[in-house]
Symmetry: C2
Subunit: 391 residues, 2 copies
Amino acid sequence: MITVTAARKLILENVLQPKVERVPLRIANGFVLSEPIFSPIDTPPFDQAAMDGYAFSFDEWDGKSDLFLNGEVQAGNYLPQNIKPNEAIRIFTGAALPPGADTIVIQENVIKRDTRIILKDDKLYKGSNVRLQGSQTKKGDIALSEGHLLSPASISFLAGLGIDKVNVYSNPIVSIIVTGKELIKPGGAMSKGKIYESNSFGLSAVLAQMNIVPVSVEMVDDDEEKIMKAINNQLKSDIIILTGGVSVGDYDFVISSLEKCAVKTIFHKIKQKPGKPFYFGKHQRTLVFGLPGNPASVLTCFYEYVADAINSFTKKEYFKKIMLPLANNFTKKPGLAFFLKGKTISNGVSILENQASYLMNSFAMADCIIELEEEKEHFDKGDMVNVLMIT
Amino acid sequence: MITVTAARKLILENVLQPKVERVPLRIANGFVLSEPIFSPIDTPPFDQAAMDGYAFSFDEWDGKSDLFLNGEVQAGNYLPQNIKPNEAIRIFTGAALPPGADTIVIQENVIKRDTRIILKDDKLYKGSNVRLQGSQTKKGDIALSEGHLLSPASISFLAGLGIDKVNVYSNPIVSIIVTGKELIKPGGAMSKGKIYESNSFGLSAVLAQMNIVPVSVEMVDDDEEKIMKAINNQLKSDIIILTGGVSVGDYDFVISSLEKCAVKTIFHKIKQKPGKPFYFGKHQRTLVFGLPGNPASVLTCFYEYVADAINSFTKKEYFKKIMLPLANNFTKKPGLAFFLKGKTISNGVSILENQASYLMNSFAMADCIIELEEEKEHFDKGDMVNVLMIT
């Protein structure tokens, strides 16, 4: 039996190099860039009108004469003709300035007389109302760095540079195997001694929140051959999550099945509650997690350990770790770390009722998991504790 | 031109009754329950072993005699035979107690001699190591209330009650129409006067984050007939988002197209920067948002207004509104509310560089939008400001 700290360290030591994939920008939200992105173009790609108005050459204007209108340019068009001194072009927001023009007087600041305009703008300067080419991003500049988490604004930014594919850290391929002779699928008829299977639902939901769809979700009887077959079928996954059957009871076959499938045990059992019989092993590139089958243990162990392993693939922080003052006193036995369902309140974090590992009613109300360290026994209101936010 | 506050109020006054749909529990994560859920069963559904051990009737035992082993029950099985005085049944975690048994002595606390066990547990009491039927949830109890946001733990909880479908507030059907003669799709070849279309990318990404896939994404030229056709095609959506063409320039056809499509204007123009020409209208049950086309205006207006409208459908808070002290001084002109790209720091919020509405490089780094109220001109470091978290 090892400590929580040692378990976390062993998981991080055993994760592998992340994989990289090229994905369409349209689905890249929430992924992390695996390399810097250099801008392929200047943006704006040309000197661009910031307002509706009239474009002209500031230096070639004497500062008092009217300007003669000689054409019009709408956004999306391009006027290749060179602008002459004392000439102006009608221009609209977003349009490219014609060659020679460098300044825009907005339409509200001119008096228009047929083909002439009289400028009424004391504050006009060379470059007024113009967005210079490359003023956001210059061709060749680093637009975003490796490690950048793509947000909607980053996606919009990259699209504006003309980028439609990006290299990102891949999601791991995850498969789920829930074990237990007592399990019936929700919606099915109940019979004596059975319970409804819920762990694959909870795990699929938290994976969905992480933008990961498990490649396989299987429910298997407490039968060594069937469990071995299910494991062997999934050994090409990056991560296999098993639930149930990881203790040492007469009908707990997960550990023996894993051994027979040549999965190497890295550790089995952590000094913690819930989830003491937690198992972690490895088969070539595949990480294998055996989570104790009570629903609260499953989700707690997922949030506290499996999420960190997934983070090492995707480089993405899924659940924030913060410190908050406790709102309750709490006494536990020493020697085990406790993970408790918690709820943040305005000035701290509150330990919820109903903490037993089979109780999900409290977990459904929780927004965080509180970690109480192994050796300490008495916790007082106001003590700072580690909190993992799960919403 | 109306104020930000008036705009928000008008949007909320014009949203419609949310719709409800019945979805499989497996995809219900992140939805909000539209009705309370009553538990269809007791959970646990029977008195259940919490540990591996031996089950017997506490009251019918004399407190000192050995117990005679008479059978075994594994989780998932059911032993219908009534337990007799001074008899015990071998039992495993999760199994149903046989009729008559009410207490479990754990296997570590017995000495086993052939078919007898000697109990070595001073602390044993009636009900030790047993999870009573209904001790989590009783049949008919409210399991979760209307308005509950389904988290992975809630999903697991409901699955454990045997529930496989839930009634939730539906996502709205959203369509996106981006307008502009100057737009080229990212990945395409650039030509003079054109820019890459980025708004549909930013909007699709933020909708994806809200678990919404737009039913249609269309790019349309600055042409009234084409814009009208695109609008008419989408009038069955709950929400139409248009970008660009909402000003009053010679080539801005969105407002006139909406009028010709019988969309009723609720307001046009807000005292704000960016996004002053923001439009909101309604056609029967369809809400129509016209967002000024600069990418930063589009996302700002989405986060500040459209997200609230979507929230009225789904009852879900997408982006947290908090108050933080400013880390910079800032001066703006009075009469317009400012929405600024911001970044939270340990003790407040910092206003980023590059705030112009066409600049997305700063937005890509932002984790929040700072709102500076309309009438105030000077903001000092330490002033509390409204912040909308967008990550």
